[in-house]
Amino acid sequence: MSGTAAERFVDGFAEARDALPGGTRDWVATVRQSGIDRFAGLGLPTARQENWKYTRLTALEKREFALPTVDDSALDLDGLVLADAHRMVFVNGRFRADLSDLSRLPAGARIVSLAAALEEGDPALQPAFAATAKEDDPFVALNTAYMGDGVLIELADGCVLDAPLQLLFVAGAGENYVTHVRNVVVAGANSQATLVEAYVAPQGGSYFTNACTDLCLAAGSRVDHVRLQDEDESAFHIGRVRADVGRDASYRSQVFSLGAQLGRADIDVRLATGAECDLDGLYLVGKRQHVDHQTRIDHAEPQANSNQLYKGILDGAARAVFCGTVMVREDAQKTDAKQMNRNLLLSPRAEVDSRPQLVIYADDVKCTHGATVGQLDPVEMFYLRSRGLDENEARELLIHAFANDLVDRVADDAVRGFIYHALDARMPGRMTEAESRA
């Protein structure tokens, strides 16, 4: 292994580029080159950068990741696919038409794999990469250089996606690979959709997911975006979501982070006049897992609302970071912004850094923020035990209770069931029971 991790990514590009989707298309090749140039200039983030202050990338940097091998095997996706949803399945970062179902899309909804769109040089993609030369996030720049697959969603004005679209990213065969997933969502005026972006690893594996989802919501549109990070506990996941929310449009994000040894989930939202966004987040981690959530909401124009609730449950020696910034610009009068981060520590070795921040330049606004860190309440524990629940049942019930309001806010029944299922499998109550018997 030679050079730094960043150098390895840069050095590997020349060899990889022609084989990447759309690699021979002029504008795609230019965008990719621009991405790698930008990444070379930025390098990987260090703790000296404010938004990486609490997250070390050392474990990631020590590893050498290759591009993934193709996995065409038949996969058992039982329990992972949403019934009655439009579905795209990706294995090792590559679209698998045989496992997907886009047969019932309504008129006005165009949903294709990103690789196919890149191969065709689809002009709908171009705006998403227009600012690559000025990209400030090294992982996004890297993603732009190497993007392998993902989805392009185009909704015509007024198009309503009748059922959720599930984007299921499955870690398949192999180890030590990196997938650069890129999703581009262009929602026309007054269109509506529910997206379920899920990263799962039913067979385990140690790999790196570098995912980026760009959404552009035109006036009056509404996108519900559920994002489940349920990677293997030895994996790395860097996820970035950017949403440009147009006039009177609504963006609702619900993030569930359960897996990965190192997980990062950034969301950047820009709100136009009268727009609204709800950002919910739930992280449930144990052992030596580390998750970092960063939100930045830009109230750029007047009369927009934002509402954030992030909750964390930490067991073992897990560590979590929440850093949320709400920026209210000078013109953004009548802004209503709420931001809250609550944390439940189940172990004395767990640790959380919470930094809710408001930056306000307008004077006629309503903004609140707060953060709490606590433990299971012994009085509540005793109450439940006095009703016959044993210690583990009581503990699990209280942990569920802490998490439930966020899960209950998932509007679609099937999607909510899918999230409950993933959450249940990670419940620390079970882990403790096993540990207490050992």
Partner: protein, 256 residues
């Protein structure tokens, strides 16, 4: 059913109970009365297994088992129910879910099958009537945002569903207006039976107008200083607790 012998309990190094003796048989209702700080609630807590108390001497036998050796949930599953003085709010857990989990735990211990959803709802609806509670309470979070009276009625609802062998009611009358007190007492009275014992812990005799006890014990300064029938409660009502302290053997230690 319950035998308490010379029970001595400390909390934070301070003696609270100083040699309690109490014998409760199935079908009996015992009232424990006493002034604030006499140790009434401590006795209720120790019997239900709450942490934070150290038993320094004595023993408690429940149906032949060493009660003090049992975890709170084992006591509950074996038929002990504590109605809390301050019922605990648990946001995020629905009332119906807790009722079901609690009933299943108790039934499992008794060697009974879990009730199916239909039978369970029928049972709960029946018990709701007893405490005059609306079905809407079932889907609300446990005690969350309930008024004082609603919380106490919810305790009695749980008790009615769980059908304990020994019910301990800790200051169940506190904070109740007369209507709520009547409802709560009605619920409790309907549960009196030859094989169920009850211990009512109360400061005031008012509750005993509605739930008439077989025995009354006066607890003062960590000891039972008087025991008698119902008339003892009336005597207390008339003369107050200072009379007990003046006349009792522990007068020297009595607090004002």
């Amino acid at each position: 059913m319950l035998d308490i012998r010379n029970l001595c309990v400390e909390t934070e190094g301070k003696p609270i109970l100083k040699g309690i003796n109490l014998h409760v048989k199935p079908g009996e209702v015992h009232a424990i009365m006493g002034p604030n700080g006499s140790g009434k609630s401590t006795l209720a807590h120790v019997l239900s297994g709450r942490e934070g108390y150290e038993v320094t001497a004595g023993e408690v036998s429940y149906q032949g088992s060493d009660l003090l050796d049992m975890a709170p949930e084992e006591r509950a599953r074996d038929g002990i129910f504590l109605a809390f003085q301050y019922p605990v709010e648990i946001p995020g857990v629905s009332n119906i879910y807790l009722l079901k989990a609690a009933l299943n735990a108790v039934r499992q211990q008794r060697g009974e099958e879990e009730l199916d959803a239909m039978d369970f709802m029928a049972l709960v609806r029946d018990k709701l009537k007893l405490v005059e509670m609306d079905e809407a309470f079932l889907s609300r979070a446990v005690n969350h945002g309930f008024s004082g009276g609603e919380k106490k009625r919810n305790e009695i609802l749980q008790m009615a569903v769980l059908e304990p062998r020994l019910a301990i009611l800790d200051e169940t009358d506190s904070g109740l207006d007369i209507d709520a007190l009547r409802i709560v007492a009605g619920g409790v009275n309907s549960m009196r039976s030859p094989d169920r014992a009850m211990i009512l812990v109360t400061h005031y005799q008012r509750l005993l107008d509605y739930i008439v006890p077989d025995y009354v014990h006066v607890l003062a300064n960590g000891q039972i200083v008087r025991s008698g029938g119902r008339e003892l409660a009336l005597e207390l009502e008339e003369k107050g607790y200072s009379w007990i302290n003046e006349g009792g053997a522990t007068a020297a230690e009595a607090r004002p």
